[in-house]
Symmetry: C2
Subunit: 219 residues, 2 copies
């Protein structure tokens, strides 16, 4: 039997804090982007994705409270990185907002899956539960594929946009890792081995590239 | 035994359409206003209210689909009135946005309660179910009362704001009633008696005045 991994309690609070603030800003951005929708159905779909983020947010905050942590305090260290990320990646068209929702949803899911193994049983359960609540980006997938089928010249511009999103996300993630030691250690399974970090980034990047192919863009 | 009320099917579609679009715009406005929050807790509270509106929205759309109506088509006639209402009542401060959330939530609940009696059993059940999911405006109530206790000079300005909200809402409601005959008839229980309409408005206004007293403002 594998023993329960030993996890630094501050790292778990950091992790739940970063996830919670990530959900809150995702809500904010999706709600904002919903206004770019050309149809009421599109607007409702993005607003529905936004609402789902608040469901996750509430669960993450409840877990923080259970651990004796103030959710607001746990989120504060991550406010600036998320706000910078969203400020530098504000979509200027409806299709850009759908690509952002799709890319963000996918990377978030992969990330949740990667870290689940390093957590104590009950935090892991919560993380997997939030992860299981997916399928919200199917709408984005369908719409973007249909748009590309109608106008193949979109591929170049939207692929470039997706690359910019991932680049910005990685650069903000590096900032977090540099500033929050315990969290960074947790994310690589308690080792500070650079090869492990590289392998994690490689897995996330490969999965992202596969998703880009699925939606019809180049990675 | 009282017989089931006979309801014009177009009126029910109109009603569900107006409620659905009302929820979608309420989502939009609450999500927007959440950004005025001075704290993360306040921002999360308003974002949570917004997310709850999308839950109602999904239920209303499902019922429209069940009745064979396209939710988008059902909502379209009401887009302009709601959009004008929100355009003319955009809060300029956090407290104004809380008063708007509180006033809007209260009037919507009263309105749902008023019409429930005129509906067929299964639409009534849905309307009451959506109505039961309240309590989201407790946060607004608490915050506004606390702010007034600290600075009583706020009472005058916020009372004026609340009166403006209700005035705008009534003027948009009159526009809807004038344009959608079947819906207007449904709302007054199948009579076009002016005394009944006046009585309905009186009940809504009295309930609003009582809520204003509760939050510490003048009606």
């Amino acid at each position: 039997m594998t023993p329960e991994p030993t996890v630094d309690p501050q790292a778990v609070v950091d992790l739940l804090g970063v996830l919670a603030y990530g959900e809150l800003t995702a809500f904010d951005r999706l709600a904002d982007d919903a206004r770019l929708a050309p149809t009421l159905a599109g607007r409702a779909a993005l607003a529905g994705m936004a609402a789902a983020e608040m469901g996750h947010f509430a669960r993450l905050c409840a877990r923080l409270a259970q651990l004796g942590a103030d959710p607001e305090v746990a989120m504060l260290p991550f406010v600036e990185v998320f706000d910078s990320f969203h400020a530098t990646t504000a979509p200027s068209t409806w299709l850009e907002s759908l690509v952002k929702a799709y890319v963000g949803d996918g990377i978030a899911a992969d990330f949740y899956r990667e870290i689940a193994g390093f957590l104590d049983a009950s935090t892991r359960e919560l993380v997997l539960e939030v992860l299981a609540d997916t399928g919200h980006s199917d709408f984005a997938l369908r719409e973007v594929r249909a748009a590309i089928a109608t106008d193949p010249t979109l591929v170049g511009r939207l692929s470039l946009w997706a690359r910019r999103l991932v680049g910005e996300a990685l650069s903000q993630a590096q900032r977090v890792a540099a500033e929050r030691d315990a969290l960074a250690m947790l994310l690589v399974g308690g080792t500070s081995d650079l090869a492990d970090i590289a392998a994690l980034l490689k897995r996330l990047t490969n999965a992202h590239t596969a998703r880009m192919r699925t939606i019809g863009l180049s990675g």
